[in-house]
């Protein structure tokens, strides 16, 4: 294996594979975090199947589907950004990062309109309207707001992370030779997509 950068008299200590594995370990813990919420959901579904279906019908399937398409596309653009930086196409990498950030913002704007509409209908944790609909529907919406809220928070973090990495790419600190930061931010972004892949059918699509 030829190691680049050994010719100058400086020896660099780096372990890209180790850095990536560290990120994966962190992502495993993120999965555990979200799986706890999904287990709560499945217990609720087993206890209140009718109420969960009824509550699910109140969610806007169009918002959910559009946001799924937005997130899948943003996952594509950040995956493409890795190939672009490996091929040393810096301009393209930056543009792909920008598209990803743009899609993250689109997702959050959609979420804003979706939640505004729901809150406008009196559906939010602790509302009297929700309490009148009984424990099953209340449990569904409390879990929905918590899980989707935590997921939205991850979108915010992931988008910020990609923005920081894009700045570093523009400054030449993240390069085609050294791009672990971009890889790890992309991994985080894909995790956000993975959570949504399960969240969407479970909350929006049950009959």
């Amino acid at each position: 294996m030829i190691i680049k950068g050994l010719l100058p008299m400086s020896i660099e200590h780096r372990d890209d594979t180790g850095a990536r594995f560290g990120m994966w370990l962190f992502l495993y813990t993120e999965v555990i975090l979200f799986s706890g919420l999904f287990i709560l959901y499945s217990v609720g579904l087993a206890k209140f199947p009718q109420q969960f279906a009824e509550a699910s019908h109140k969610l806007n399937i169009y918002f959910g589907t559009i946001n799924t398409l937005v997130l899948l596309t943003s996952s594509l653009t950040i995956a493409l950004a890795i190939t672009a930086i490996q091929k040393n196409k810096i301009k393209l990498t930056l543009n792909l990062c920008f598209v990803t950030i743009f899609l993250a913002i689109v997702f959050l704007i959609n979420k804003y309109f979706e939640w505004s509409a729901e809150i406008g209908h009196g559906i939010y944790p602790g509302s009297e309207h929700l309490a009148e609909m009984g424990p099953g529907i209340t449990a569904f919406f409390n879990l929905y707001y918590f899980t989707a809220g935590l997921h939205g928070f991850h979108i915010l973090i992931g988008g910020t992370l990609i923005a920081v990495v894009a700045t570093l790419i523009a400054k030449g600190k993240v390069t085609s030779d050294r791009y672990t930061l971009l890889e790890n931010s992309a991994l985080y972004w894909h995790l956000v997509d993975l959570v949504w892949i399960f969240l969407f059918p479970l909350y929006y699509l049950i009959l």
Binding site: D16, G18, S42, A79, D193, L207
Partner: protein, 94 residues
Amino acid sequence: MTEHKHEPVPFRTFILIWFALLVLTVVTVAVSRVHLGAWNIWVALTIASIKSSLVVFIFMHLRQESKLFKIGLLTLLIIVAIFIGLTFTDVLYR
């Protein structure tokens, strides 16, 4: 760990996977509008699992990573399965 760089995944591969993910999303939405009783949830979970494998193995480059990463993922899945299993041994027999 030995330092080895991944071969760049062709743009084409990623775009094809993205297309597959879009098709699977349309399938989930379409199937969810048909009453299949308890099967609805299992179909939805199966499609979600297929979608996430595509994301994990291709988008997240797990295919190119060493065995360690794959064993890690397998361990995670077993732990989650134990969590779910133990929870339901309680919940289902109350």
